[in-house]
Amino acid sequence: GAGVSQSPSNKVTEKGKDVELRCDPISGHTALYWYRQSLGQGLEFLIYFQGNSAPDKSGLPSDRFSAERTGGSVSTLTIQRTQQEDSAVYLCASSFQSGNTIYFGEGSWLTVV
């Protein structure tokens, strides 16, 4: 596609429910990144993929967070047993290769009530 596509764009969920956020990177981009941005805060790195493997998962806040990427393309970020502190914008980005310029999607706004 022309840009990084994320879905859903907005999600309101109840505390304790699981949520899945999807990212479709730019066609041909091998590297994919997930960041989180809480209200008024900076971008917090979560995880990045090169192909289907994740060399760096250091930013995942807890074991409730997981991500996978299949076919070197679409990625899913899963948050289990959501908590109110998980409320944030989850941003996905991709680049041709790791270390190249990364391009962001518009984000998935998650609100946990």
């Binding site: 960041y35 900076g42 971008l43 760096d56 250091s58 984000g107």
Partner: protein, 113 residues
Amino acid sequence: EDQVTQSPEALRLQEGESSSLNCSYTVSGLRGLFWYRQDPGKGPEFLFTLYSAGEEKEKERLKATLTKKESFLHITAPKPEDSATYLCAPLGAGGTSYGKLTFGQGTILTVHP
């Protein structure tokens, strides 16, 4: 650990009043530095990549420069549509964090007509 500091945190300018934003960093083996613009409710939009000290890049009213320890984003004769948060992110060299961008907290620029 890579560290990035942007200053000022917020900057208010009158239309036409030129100024500069600063991004200072501590990164092992700098391979590049990225500047992004972020509008409220949107994902970051790529502006520039700088790869080596002394390099400069321009786009409309914006010019980015890079030294060994910091980068500047110069804004010449800004217009209200330049109002946004400006983010910088240096890319370091090593290991499993090869592809990880560490973002600064950003400078919130407001340009008044």
